[in-house]
Symmetry: C2
Subunit: 693 residues, 2 copies
């Protein structure tokens, strides 16, 4: 049996890192003439189709796909198999095969004296084979010699998710790359091409769960779980399913009222419980592998169990009970805080909120509830402390939430590679069970015995041709997926993979782009809000500098700058007590000015402008210096990118250069506004007498 020759990619969108440009290492040489696969499934079809396509594009030669046939063919071949099949001794004897988990795979070159060098992709499941196929293609794009391939991979995180904040009118909350790829005019988009290519991109980095609608579930989106929309949702779920991805939906907690006409949404009300049970039956009838619900409840004016004097545990358990028979989970967001705070009140601290709300409930959640916790206690700032809730609930499934979409980090107009930030978070030691209790071990379930856990992120894609607005923002999308798969990967490894796949293996390209990406986060941090204090952006859309933008607001996001100093006193001694939410080692480190790291100084302390940092600089001089450095850093990015003219295709080169030029202008605006604000406020001049207004 030969599979139909389908056209890949499915849409005219940018190919991202699945670019498969011709590779010298594969050109002109005989490659694998056949791809064997013994069984058949949508997922295996996806795998072998991708393999054939990728190899043909890179080598110019198209392997034949053979289903269920003898693998003793003439010439080199690739064989896709599950561990249940009979395999060459070299593989069977491989003890590592025993360790493959659901999504794991073995990828191995076997020198066959009759057929030459053959490649085996062995998974415990078809999904494992799919991931292995993408891994092989990655290595080939990177020009890794096939004969060196010998590896076993298991994803570290059971759940590796993407959260879309897409609305059914096609808009995307915090979207900076066009409109939704799923929704338009209150319907699901019927052209599946883009969604298929999206599923390929996601599967290639190991994503296995995607929620397709905004966590702020409005009127229309609430109806996605009704018969009106479920057939359309099921169609998308089917596309995902072939790529090993389960579809999730964000739901409105008040659905029993809005959709069911009940008088209450009280989670302890038997009618409400029954309504959700019946709703689960209905959903799984349409989507047998439905992942579950993502829920933002009692947060930023969203409905939730608080209305009925119930807890988050009551609220989530009720939904979890309904989904349990089908293996579904409830992903309950911990982004709960008082969003109508009085700015005059310095005792309330938004940073405390998630811990204060959820920590006391540890042990009260069903085992198919997962608490989804943002990496920091505030909201995806360029720099903030790690959330003390992560690791603080041994008896409750937890999941880490990142933000790939650059809401506060330049909105994909500025280059800001977030992998270094995420690495910092993943490697942060909570000391929850002594040294080495890192965030990545919390999320992966290694630290505590979580039934469900993992990492999720708010995605940065839209219907822009290049998916992410800024072409280089694809690196964040890629990097996130890779870290969700294996948080131990180094920034350097991830960056090299992405560059080589996306822009080729030319040494100058790799060198310049690696440096650009590596420096970009610090550059962005330098010209925006200083020393971990955060915010200082225009309210609402969050783009561009506005030092007092959130200072007198209801959002709990303040810097308290006056003519003497600035920063938020979150100490136990005489502040909000937030530092006390950490385990002792961190609590002590942050509590003391002596040990608090410079980059988080103003997150934890209110200090005079003349306070001297560990760096030796005063706070005010640090502000000036870092802002001049930041804007200069963007000019350096431009210089590096200019070097790649001719080495990167003109279309992408010009597009990126255009964004960098805007970033350069905008970074000067940031620099001058922040510096001028603090110069006017402090009255302290720049030691280097640079121009401040």
């Amino acid at each position: 049996m030969e599979i139909t020759e389908l056209q890949l990619p499915y849409s005219a969108a940018d190919r991202g890192w699945l670019r498969y440009e011709p590779r010298d290492s594969l050109q002109g040489l005989p490659v694998w003439s056949r791809i064997f696969v013994s069984e058949w499934s949508d997922t295996l079809e996806a795998a072998v189709r991708e393999l054939r396509y990728g190899i043909r594009e890179m080598s110019g030669q198209s392997p034949e796909i053979v289903v269920g046939g003898e693998s003793l063919a003439q010439g080199a071949f690739i064989r896709c198999a599950t561990v249940r099949e009979s395999l060459p001794n070299e593989l069977h004897s491989d003890l590592l095969l025993q360790d493959l988990n659901e999504d794991g795979y073995l990828l191995k070159h076997v020198a066959d004296k009759e057929n030459g060098g053959c490649l085996y992709i062995v998974g415990r499941t078809d999904k494992g084979i799919l991931y292995g196929a993408f891994h092989l293609l990655r290595l080939l794009q990177m020009e890794v010699p096939a004969e060196r391939i010998d590896l076993v991979e298991n994803p570290r995180n059971p759940l590796r998710m993407m959260n879309h904040w897409d609305n059914m009118d096609g808009s995307i909350e915090r979207g900076y790359a066009g409109r939704s790829i799923f929704f338009k005019d209150q319907r699901l988009i019927e052209d599946d091409g883009r969604i298929r290519d999206y599923a390929r991109l996601m599967a290639s980095i190991g994503i296995n769960g995607i929620s397709i609608n905004n966590v702020n579930v409005h009127e229309a989106e609430a109806r996605l779980i009704t018969a009106e929309y479920l057939p359309q949702v099921a169609r998308v779920a089917g596309i995902f399913s072939a790529y090993g991805i389960r579809l999730f939906l964000s739901i409105n907690y008040a659905s029993p009222m809005q959709l069911g006409g009940l008088a209450t949404a009280d989670p302890l009300d038997s009618g409400v419980r029954q309504w959700w049970k019946e709703k689960a039956v209905e959903i799984y009838r349409y989507i047998p592998d439905f992942g579950g619900f993502v829920v933002k409840a009692d947060s930023e004016h969203r409905p939730g169990p608080f209305t009925y004097n119930r807890t988050h545990a009551d609220g989530s358990n009720m939904l979890a009970e309904a989904l349990a028979p089908y293996g579904g989970v409830v992903i309950w967001r911990c982004f709960v805080y008082n969003c109508m705070q009085d700015w005059r009140d310095r005792t309330t601290d938004r940073a405390r909120a998630a811990y204060d709300h959820f920590k006391p409930l540890d042990g009260q959640f069903r085992d198919n509830v997962i608490l989804q916790i943002k990496n920091g206690p505030m909201d995806f700032q360029v720099r903030e402390a790690v959330s003390p809730l992560l690791g603080a609930m041994p008896q409750t499934n937890q999941m880490l939430e990142f933000q790939i979409t650059q809401e506060y980090t330049g909105q994909q107009k500025h280059l800001c590679y977030l992998v270094p930030q995420w690495k910092d978070v993943l490697d942060f030691d909570t000391y929850a069970r002594g040294e080495g209790s890192t965030i990545q071990r919390v999320a992966s379930g290694e630290l505590y015995d979580y039934k469900h856990c993992g990492i999720t992120a708010v995605i940065n894609v839209g219907d822009d041709e290049n998916w992410t607005g800024h072409t280089l923002a694809q690196a964040n999308l890629y990097g996130y997926g890779r870290l969700a798969w294996n948080p131990d990967l180094s920034e350097a490894e991830i960056t090299e993979e992405w560059i080589k796949q996306t822009f080729g293996t030319h040494a100058a390209v790799v060198e310049q782009l690696t440096t650009m990406l590596a420096e970009s986060w610090r550059i962005y941090e330098n010209y925006t809000s200083p020393l971990g204090v955060g915010w200082m952006v225009n309210p609402g859309h969050h783009y561009g500098p506005n030092v007092d933008g959130y200072e007198y607001s209801v959002w709990g996001t303040y810097h308290f700058a006056d003519c003497h100093g600035m920063g938020v006193n979150r100490t136990v001694k005489d502040g909000t007590g937030y530092t006390g939410q950490y385990f002792a080692e961190n609590a002590e480190r942050y509590e003391s000015l002596d040990s608090c790291p410079d980059e988080l100084l103003l997150f934890f302390h209110h200090v005079p402008y003349t306070h001297r940092l560990h760096s030796g600089k005063t706070v005010i001089q640090h502000i000036y210096d870092s802002h001049f450095e930041g804007a200069d850093g963007v000019e350096a990015l431009i210089e590096r990118w200019r070097l790649l003219e001719g080495l990167v295709d003109p279309k992408r080169h010009e597009a990126v250069m255009g964004r960098l030029r805007h970033q350069a202008e905008h970074s000067k605006e940031w620099r001058d506004i922040i510096n001028t604000y603090f110069y006017r406020k402090s009255g302290i001049g720049d030691e280097l007498k640079r121009m401040i207004y």
Copy 2:
């Protein structure tokens, strides 16, 4: 001939000041049994219909309307006549009749021995009679005894206009009272009732020109001057026409390109000139009494003659030439400034812009061009200097522009009676031709011999039931019209008229409301931006406090506050030189700290917070005191309004109370944010140790 009994009012909207509630002074007594009118016209019909309706509502008795009949009827009557008719000697001998201008009228009680007390309304034109009829109804509503009526009125301003900033999608730029009464879904609204009632309200205060669309003329609105829309526009113009109002349209300067497909809109291009001439022919074919064009050109990204290196004179004269044959005028706005200013640049001063642009062009404009000049050089702030351009162009028609819609003065959620502000402006002495060269004499054409001139204002009405959102904001609408008619009217006179017509003549109502209105502007000023510096509002929508909201923007609107002091140095000595745009007496007064009035101190000078005002207070203490006083003042407004419970109908009482309560809350937010901002910035505490955060 008897006129049809039409239902007044035409719509279910609030009646405003045309309320005609039963009046004790007219109840139970015999009133005028007939209204005589010798000729007939739409305007006379409007006049006598209003008279009959008003008298019936107030007295319970309905006069008969007699057209062309003998006025020697039995019993008291009202006679409407023009000066051309034969009138009793007592009137003919009245020398004042000779002085009636186009819109003037005589209103006189004549004791007739046969018929009792009769009233004569004599105008030079039908319009004069219409205005006289409304005047009579006003006096009756105010319970002025009929026998005391003996007056001659001429409007002081030839043009008494309203500018709508309505868009064809129904939105209103800077509208705070619902949607447009003219437009919806890109069409003119077909139900005329609301427009007729609006025309009645406008005629009752003497308005004789109305532009119905936004000065920012977008794609759709540009087409109002095409055959697609002119029939609909003509219908509205016809309604207005009966009420003595000429309709104007705002036009897009680039119309020859957008509508005509020409390659240019150059005012010196013969094809462009021809296009506008033909356009004028077409417009006047539909609307014979079309007023003319209102033009915002080369301002805030609107197209204009600058594109072609032509002047505002070139641009406006070209349009004026096209309209001249039909008596149309071009109203050319002087709100022209650099709206892409670099905030770092302290040499450019937006306040200078109108004068710098237009003063050099004096004498170059056709006599049917009028320059429309905002009262202040910035943009309708709660307090700003008077525009130095007013009175500075002896050879160029000028027109004064006010803003009734409360863009910067509380958006009709806050009570802010603007008549006191407008009086200040109208009575401001420019010294253009020596002492007494007041703004009102500039606008009215008394100072220079203007062919066209007057006053216009951006209106505050929408389709809210009560027209203006805040019921008490009707007082601004009313007061503006009365001042446009007669700028010598005192605030007290206008306020009394409005209250008695709108809320009745009860002494407590008049007393409390008079005080509320009189104090409201100062109260609002107190808790918002201090000492004439302006701005400090949230950008874009302009509601609520944001001290730095415009500080680092492109709009040329800064306060330059630092830890030492604040204000804009506009002196000739070492500032922007703006003070030099005034005639000597004012230039000297504003230039010197000794003579600059406190309320404009920060508009003209940058001073330390410790600078002592003429009031004896330091600037910083003034900020604190005025802000506490302002918020306290709103509480006092509430107390006064509470006294009127039972004296004002519950519906309007509750609606106003609701707005006042919001104002009270919001004024505290203003108070605390402004005070905190300056406390944090200056480090100087409040002498009275009140709570600042």
